[in-house]
C-alpha cells in the first residue's frame, strides 16, 4: 500500500467536520441536529485514526473506540430527550424550545 499524505486525511476529516457544523447551524429539525453531531464525532474519529496510522500505533484506533462509545451513549440519551420534546412541544423544531430567552 502506498502511503497517503497525512494532510489529505486530515483535510477529509476537516471537511466532514465542517459539514457537520453547517448541518447543526442550518437545520431546525432536532433529528438532523443529532445526526450532524454524529457526523462531527465521526470526523474527529477519522482524524485520530489518520494520526494513528501515521505513527503505526494502535492508539488512534483506541481513541476511535472511545469516541464510538461516547457517541452511542449520547445518541441514546439524546433520542430519549427528543421523544420528551415531541411529547411536550408537539414538534421537532428546536426554535420552539426557546423559553430560556433573555
Amino acid at each position: 500500500m502506498a502511503a497517503v499524505p497525512i494532510e489529505h486525511g486530515l483535510v477529509l476529516a476537516g471537511l466532514l467536520f465542517i459539514l457537520g457544523v453547517v448541518g447543526v447551524l442550518v437545520r431546525r429539525n432536532v433529528i438532523f441536529v443529532l445526526m450532524s453531531i454524529e457526523i462531527m464525532l465521526n470526523a474527529a474519529g477519522l482524524a485520530f485514526v489518520t494520526a494513528g496510522s501515521r505513527w503505526q500505533q494502535a492508539d488512534g484506533q483506541v481513541m476511535f473506540l472511545f469516541i464510538l462509545a461516547t457517541a452511542a451513549a449520547e445518541v441514546s440519551v439524546g433520542l430519549a430527550l427528543v421523544l420528551q420534546m415531541n411529547a411536550r412541544f408537539k414538534s421537532l423544531d428546536t426554535d420552539a424550545a426557546s423559553k430560556m430567552r433573555g
Binding site: 447543526v24 447551524l25 428546536t94 430560556m100 433573555g102
Partner: protein
C-alpha cells in the same frame, strides 16, 4: 453746610425705604407727603449746599467720603460723593424738576391703586440718579446707573396687569443692558490699565500714560460711548424710548425726558479727558448726535400718539447734546440739558393733563379744540413748545440750541456739516412741535374734556413754564446784551477748556438769524398743513408717495424690524432648536448608547439553540485565527 451733601441722595433713599416697608399700611396723603417731601427736602438742602459751594470751594471739587466700599488687592473704591460745578448743575435739575414732578404726580396718580408703590419707585429713582451724578468713582456711578435702569424698568411697567407694559419695560431694560455691558467692559479696561476707577485720578493718569489717539484710549472711549448711547437712547440703541411711553406720564417726564436719559451726556462730560485722548471717538459722538437728531426728528413728524412725538423729540434733543459734546463745547451741551429739562418736562406734564382730561386718550387725531377747554394747559404747553422749537430770542431753547450750533459751526469744516444737520433738525423740530400743537389744541373738539387740573398740577406747569423762558438768561451769547456767560463761567472750573474759537459778533448774528428763520419757517409750514383740520386732505402723508414715507418714519425708520430680523429672530430660532437642550442631549446620548448596547446584547439571548451553536462556531474560528495567523 457742604457737609450735608450726603443728605441729598440719602433723603430720597429714606423715602423709598419708608414707602416700601410701610406703604400698604399708611394713608395716601402720608405716602404723598413722604414721597414728595423727601425730594423737596433734598432740593432745599441742594440750595444750601450749592450756595456754600459757590461761595467757598470755587475752583475745586468737594469730596465727602461716607465709607469704604471694598478694599481688595489695591482696589478700594469708596462710597464717596464728589461735588463740582457739573454735578451741582445736575443735582439742581434733578432735585428741583424732580420735586415739581413729584408734586404733580401727587394729584395725577390720585386714583391709581399703586399710589405708595409709585412714590417708592420714584424716590428710589431720584436717589439712584443723585448717586450717579454725585459719584466720585466709576463703580459708584455704575451703581447709580444700574439703579436708574432698574427704576426705569419698574416704572415703565408700573401698570403691570397689561402685558404690553411689561414688554415695553423689558425692551427698555434689555436694550440699555447692551450699553451697560459696554460701559462695564470699558470700566474693566480702564481699571486694568490705569489701576483706579476714581474719576479725577483716572483722568489724570490717562493723560499721563496714554498718548493722544492711542488704541487703549480709543477702545475705552468707544466703550463708554456705548454705555452712554444705551442710556440716552441714541443711535443705534434708541428703540426703547418710544415704547417706554407705556409708563405713567410723570415717569416719562422725569426719567425719559429730564434726567435718566441725560445720564449718558453726564457720563461723557465727566470722563472728558478720555474722550479728548481719542479725537476720533469724540468726532463719532458728534456724528451719532447729528444722525440721531435727524432720524428722530423725521420720525416725530409722522407719529399720531402724543407721547410718542415727545419721546422722539427727546431722542432728537439729546442728539443735540451729543453734538455739542462731540465738537468739544461741553458747556453748550450742558446748557441745552438744563433748558431741555425744563421745557421737555413741561411738555410731558402738559400732555399728561390732556391725557387725563380726555380719559386716557393718547391719539392726537382724536383731540382738538382744547385751547378753550384747558386754557392754562394750553398756554404753558405753548410756551414749552415754543422753547422746543427755539422761538427766537425769547425762549431758553433758542439760546441753548444756538450755542451748540454756533460752536459746531466754528469748530472746523466737519463742524459746519454737523451744524448744517443741526439746522435742518431745527426746522424739522419746529415743524413737528407745532404740528403737535395745532392738531391737539386747535380745530374741532373731538373728545370732550372730563377732568380739569387742580392746584398742584397747575402750579407745577406755571413754574416750569417760567423756567422754560428764563433759563436762557443763564448764558447769553455775545451779541445779545453784551453776553452773559454765567453758566460757562460756572462750569469752567470743572470742564476742560473749550476749543478756543473766537466767534465774531457778526457770525453770531448770522447764525441766529438763520436759526430764527428756520424756526419760524417750520411753524409756518405746520400752520399751513395742520391749523385747520379740514386741510387734512393736503397732508402729504395722505398722498401715495407720502404714505409709504409716513409709515417708514412712524415706525422710527424701521429700526425695530431691523433688530427683530438681526437679533430677535435668530435668537428665538436658536432657543427653539435648543429646546431639547443639546448639551443635555450629549449626556442622555451616553445613557441611550448604554441602553442600545443592552438591547443589542440581550437580543443575543434568544433561547434558540442554533444561535448559540453559531456563536460557538464563530468564536472557535476567531480563536483559531488568532492563534494561527499572526
Amino acid at each position: 453746610m457742604l457737609g450735608l451733601l450726603w443728605l441729598i441722595p440719602a433723603l430720597p433713599f429714606a423715602g423709598f425705604a419708608i414707602l416700601a416697608l410701610l406703604g400698604p399700611v399708611i394713608s395716601r396723603t402720608l405716602a404723598a407727603v413722604v414721597g414728595v417731601g423727601s425730594v423737596g427736602l433734598a432740593a432745599l438742602i441742594t440750595l444750601l449746599v450749592g450756595a456754600d459751594f459757590m461761595a467757598s470751594a470755587g475752583g475745586h471739587g468737594y469730596s465727602q467720603t461716607l465709607w469704604s466700599w471694598m478694599d481688595v488687592g489695591g482696589f478700594n473704591p469708596g462710597i464717596t460723593l464728589y461735588l463740582d460745578s457739573v454735578s451741582l448743575l445736575f443735582v439742581v435739575v434733578i432735585t428741583f424738576v424732580g420735586f415739581l414732578i413729584h408734586l404733580y404726580s401727587a394729584e395725577y396718580m390720585a386714583d391709581d391703586e399703586g399710589y405708595s408703590r409709585f412714590f417708592a419707585y420714584m424716590n428710589l429713582f431720584v436717589g439712584s440718579m443723585l448717586t450717579l451724578v454725585l459719584a466720585d468713582n466709576l463703580l459708584l456711578l455704575f451703581l447709580g446707573w444700574e439703579g436708574v435702569g432698574l427704576c426705569s424698568f419698574l416704572l415703565i411697567g408700573f401698570w403691570y396687569r397689561d402685558p404690553y407694559n411689561g414688554y415695553a419695560a423689558r425692551k427698555a431694560f434689555v436694550v440699555t443692558r447692551v450699553g451697560d455691558t459696554a460701559l462695564l467692559v470699558g470700566m474693566f479696561l480702564l481699571f486694568n490699565n490705569l489701576g483706579t476707577l476714581q474719576i479725577q485720578e483716572l483722568m489724570q493718569r490717562a493723560g499721563q500714560s496714554w498718548p493722544v489717539g492711542s488704541s487703549l484710549a480709543v477702545a475705552a472711549a468707544l466703550l463708554i460711548l456705548g454705555g452712554a448711547v444705551g442710556k440716552s437712547a441714541q443711535l443705534p440703541l434708541q428703540t426703547w424710548l418710544p415704547d417706554a411711553m407705556a409708563g405713567p406720564t410723570p415717569v416719562s417726564a422725569l426719567i425719559h425726558a429730564a434726567t435718566m436719559v441725560t445720564a449718558g451726556v453726564y457720563l461723557i462730560a465727566r470722563t472728558n479727558a478720555i474722550f479728548l485722548l481719542a479725537p476720533s471717538v469724540l468726532q463719532l459722538v458728534a456724528i451719532v448726535g447729528a444722525l440721531t437728531l435727524l432720524i428722530a426728528g423725521f420720525a416725530a413728524l409722522a407719529q399720531t400718539d402724543l407721547k410718542r412725538v415727545l419721546a422722539y423729540s427727546t431722542i432728537s434733543q439729546i442728539g443735540y447734546m451729543f453734538l455739542g459734546l462731540g465738537v468739544g463745547s461741553w458747556s453748550a451741551a450742558l446748557f441745552h440739558f438744563f433748558t431741555h429739562a425744563f421745557f421737555k418736562a413741561l411738555l410731558f406734564l402738559g400732555a399728561g393733563v390732556i391725557i387725563l382730561a380726555l380719559h386716557h386718550e393718547q391719539d392726537m387725531h382724536r383731540m382738538g379744540g382744547l385751547r378753550k377747554s384747558l386754557p392754562l394747559t394750553f398756554w404753558t404747553f405753548l410756551i414749552g413748545a415754543a422753547s422746543l422749537a427755539a422761538l427766537p430770542w425769547v425762549t431758553a431753547g433758542f439760546y441753548s440750541k444756538d450755542m451748540i450750533l454756533t460752536e459746531a459751526w466754528v469748530s472746523g469744516p466737519s463742524g459746519q456739516l454737523l451744524a448744517a444737520a443741526g439746522f435742518l433738525g431745527a426746522l424739522v423740530t419746529s415743524m413737528y412741535t407745532f404740528r403737535m400743537v395745532f392738531i391737539t389744541f386747535f380745530g374741532r373738539e373731538r373728545t370732550h374734556v372730563t377732568r380739569r387740573p387742580e392746584l398742584r398740577i397747575s402750579a407745577v406747569l406755571v413754574i416750569l413754564a417760567f423756567g422754560a423762558l428764563a433759563a436762557g438768561l443763564l448764558e447769553l451769547p455775545k451779541n445779545i446784551l453784551g453776553g452773559l456767560p454765567i453758566l460757562s463761567g460756572f462750569l469752567h472750573s470743572a470742564l476742560p477748556a473749550e476749543g478756543a474759537h473766537e466767534v465774531s459778533t457778526s457770525t453770531e448774528w448770522a447764525l441766529q438769524i438763520v436759526s430764527a428763520l428756520l424756526s419760524l419757517g417750520g411753524i409756518y409750514v405746520a400752520y399751513l398743513l395742520y391749523y385747520r383740520t379740514d386741510r387734512y386732505a393736503e397732508d402729504p402723508s395722505r398722498a401715495p408717495w407720502g404714505a409709504g414715507l409716513n409709515r417708514f418714519w412712524r415706525s422710527g425708520w424701521g429700526f425695530d424690524s431691523l433688530y427683530d430680523l438681526l437679533f430677535v429672530r435668530p435668537y428665538v430660532a436658536f432657543a427653539r432648536i435648543n429646546k431639547g437642550d443639546f448639551i443635555n442631549a450629549i449626556y442622555e446620548a451616553v445613557a441611550g448608547l448604554n441602553v442600545l448596547f443592552h438591547r443589542v446584547l440581550s437580543s443575543t439571548e434568544s433561547g434558540i439553540v442554533r444561535w448559540y451553536a453559531a456563536g460557538i462556531a464563530a468564536g472557535a474560528i476567531i480563536a483559531v485565527a488568532i492563534g494561527v495567523i499572526r
